[in-house]
């Protein structure tokens, strides 16, 4: 597009090039900034992403740098502007849509599932479109500012779903998502955005993390934990406890991309440990654990020496008060308890 401004990059968006550690949020900002710099067809749409820089400040400084034609403050119409993004993608642009809180993606459910995800199949060509935004609980946001939305879209052939747990992955996966010719739903756990423990010095080079590949977080022999997002860190905490107190070693798989799913990584690990625990923050019934269990049953049933189990949120809307929400969400202790049960099985 014709309107890129030739100003130098704002300081807070170039930490990596100065060797500074970045948070997961900053990694996302950098990914957006670099892709927009490298490719004029990338542009942003969303509520309050311009002058305000987004509800979580992911796009702070972007409007000033890239101008109003590439950083578009939209009306409150998730369906409308996601649909518009799809139209722009038809014309060869590569829109990145921000949903202010992913809970509010539901008005776009129709256009995403019926139009966007089916576009290639219906013969309309590639659909390079990223829909990103904050998800997840633990922040006392109540039922409408805490949801995980993967399972609303997991049953949608044609869509990819990505959910990073580290700054490195967030940057590399988002860059890969923007370059992908398929529509990608990109979930960012708001509890990880500024988590100090996730600050990381990233390679000062253009890197991507390929979609569809899981990551082995740590190697272990006694049990496989398949997880993603914020639960990766709770699982690691649990694994530390299990190691220290029980002498158990846990293989932790971070899915990173939920759809399409990296079956091989899961199956290989289960074939090694013979025990599977699935941990997800999202609610239980119809959660992703089911699909994982089904695939493991199909591909590695013989290797299972114990039932596949899961630790998840309970089947309820996300409650507002801290005491309820803490009960609602899966906790480190739950992982520990379930792992012990499985190890002893």
């Amino acid at each position: 597009m014709t309107t890129t401004m030739e100003t130098s990059a704002p300081e807070h968006l170039t930490k990596t090039s100065r060797g500074e550690a970045v948070t997961l949020l900053e990694a996302i900002s950098e990914a957006l900034f670099e892709e927009m710099t490298a490719d004029e067809s990338v542009f942003l749409l969303g509520e309050d992403i311009g002058v305000y820089g987004g509800a979580f400040k992911v796009t702070r400084g972007f409007l000033e740098h890239f101008g109003a034609n590439r950083v578009i403050d939209t009306p409150i119409a998730e369906g409308g502007f996601t649909g518009a993004a799809a139209g722009a993608a038809h014309m060869g642009l590569r829109p990145v849509v921000e949903i202010q809180f992913m809970d509010f993606i539901s008005p776009a459910y129709d256009v995403i599932t019926n139009y966007i995800a089916t576009s290639l199949y219906r013969g309309a060509g590639p659909m390079p479109l990223v829909i990103r935004g904050p998800v997840g609980g633990g922040n006392r946001g109540g039922p409408f500012h805490s949801q995980n939305v993967e399972m609303a879209f997991f049953h949608t052939p044609g869509l990819k779903i990505v959910y990073p747990s580290t700054a490195y992955d967030a940057k590399g996966l988002l860059k890969a998502a923007i370059r992908d010719d398929n529509p990608v739903l990109f979930e960012e756990h708001k509890g990880l955005y500024r988590a100090p423990a996730l600050r990381e010095v990233l390679p000062d080079e253009d890197f991507v993390v390929p979609l569809g590949k899981a990551r082995t977080v740590r190697e272990g022999q006694d049990l496989t934990v398949v997880t993603y997002g914020a639960m990766v860190h709770k699982s690691v905490e649990a694994a530390d406890i299990l190691d220290a107190e029980d002498g158990l070693s846990v293989d932790i798989i971070d899915l990173r991309t939920l759809l399409p799913m990296d079956d091989d990584a899961i199956v290989d690990s289960v074939k090694k440990t013979n025990r599977l625990l699935i941990v997800h923050e999202d609610t239980r019934t119809g959660g992703i654990a089911g699909e994982i269990a089904m695939r493991v049953s199909e591909k590695a049933f013989e290797w299972l020496d114990a039932p596949m189990l899961r630790v998840t949120a309970i089947d309820a809307p996300v409650p507002y008060s801290g005491s309820l929400e803490d009960y609602f969400l899966p906790q480190v202790d739950d992982v520990v308890k379930a792992a012990r049960y499985l190890a002893a099985y």
Partner: protein, 351 residues
């Protein structure tokens, strides 16, 4: 309308209006104190400068507590309407402090609560939804031949949603007795109204639905009251759906965490001069509808009521964690996590 016109309201009602304005202001100020003390869960959304819209409008409806009155769907910036419809001050604080003793038992935030006897339905966060809900509530009034009407508040930004359109259009076609109150405070978070709509006045949106629409200075409580009262008469007498735009300005940030540095301070200063409480107080005094001491007495009474209610609620208990599994269904209990309770492990041995 002359500044001397009291629109047929007597002294008592004029004072009641003043009290409702003051209560909104003071209750929210008390919330700020509570928030600084760490007692408030989640965001705090002020209505500073918008109090007269909610209060004037709600005052024009029939408020009952036996399930026969008019119906309100408020917003977080229309707490004044909620109070006039009988929303309890302690419950208000309970909600903001996420107490188990509150009307939603800690499940939902702030003004998101319900009382169908008193006639109000709290909002959900997804904007626009409440237009659909209120369309159905008022549809039921029409279907049953009841003389009740409904009023739904929403912001200028919410008018961009598909839900707003679908709900409004359904109501218009179905002649649902409902008044849409758009709180045009000129901002949707950081987004100015002209980025949410290309119209200059929201009243221009009425004709596109074949319904009547008014626009009123939302800082003038009596003007709002009078406009809505007339709209309510039309709606109640079978005209169906109508719209009223409240024109004012959001003088604080979207929520407490928003410094609103995107707003020209001069504009804020200008709107401060049109403060609805100051304005109305002057008018009461100038017209000798109230004395300074009468109004001071209301101020202190309200201040005390807020202080006492808040203090009382602070010490009330948090919800009990395991209650999180209740009330998902009326008749089916969802499972306790087996890793938490003393329930048996899920996997049983083959016998």
């Amino acid at each position: 309308m002359s500044d001397r016109d009291s629109y047929g309201l007597g002294r008592k009602e004029l004072h009641e209006l003043y009290r409702a304005l003051r209560l909104t202001r003071t209750a929210e100020e008390r919330l700020e104190i509570l928030q600084k003390q760490g007692h408030v869960t989640g965001g705090l959304y002020r209505s500073l400068g918008q109090e007269a819209g909610a209060v004037g409008a709600a005052f024009a409806l029939r408020r009952r507590d036996d399930g026969t009155g008019d119906f309100l769907a408020h917003t977080v910036r229309a707490a004044g309407a909620l109070f006039l419809f009988g929303g309890d001050l302690e419950d208000f604080f309970r909600q903001y402090m996420a107490k188990g003793s509150g009307p939603t038992r800690g499940r939902e935030a702030n003004v998101h609560w319900f009382d169908f006897q008193k006639g109000f339905v709290g909002p959900v966060s997804p904007l626009g939804t409440m237009i659909e809900i209120m369309a159905g509530i008022t549809l039921s009034f029409r279907l049953r031949g009841e003389e009740r009407i409904g009023m739904v508040f929403y912001g200028d930004g919410a008018s961009s949603t598909g839900a707003w359109h679908e709900g409004l259009n359904f109501a218009a076609v179905q002649r649902c007795p409902m008044i849409l109150m758009v709180e045009n405070n000129q901002w949707a978070f950081s987004t100015p109204t002209h980025k949410n709509t290309r119209v200059a006045s929201f009243a221009d949106k009425g004709p596109g639905y074949g319904i009547g629409a008014d626009s009123v200075d939302g800082t003038d409580v009596l003007e709002v009251f009078d406009t809505v009262r007339r709209a309510a008469t039309l709606v109640r007498s079978g005209e169906g759906t109508r719209m009223v735009e409240l024109r004012y300005f959001r003088r604080l940030g979207h929520a407490q965490h928003d410094p609103q540095d995107y707003v020209d301070p001069a504009l804020i200063a200008e709107w401060e001069k049109k403060d609805p409480l100051d304005q109305y107080r002057r008018r009461l005094i100038n017209n000798e509808w109230a004395t300074e001491s009468e109004l001071d007495a209301i101020d202190s009474e309200v201040f005390e009521a807020c202080r006492v209610a808040a203090e009382k609620v602070i010490d009330e208990p948090k919800p009990h964690g395991p209650d999180a599994v209740d009330d998902v269904y009326t008749d089916v209990r969802v499972a306790y996590p087996w890793t938490r309770s003393e329930a048996p492990n899920p996997a049983a041995a083959r016998t």
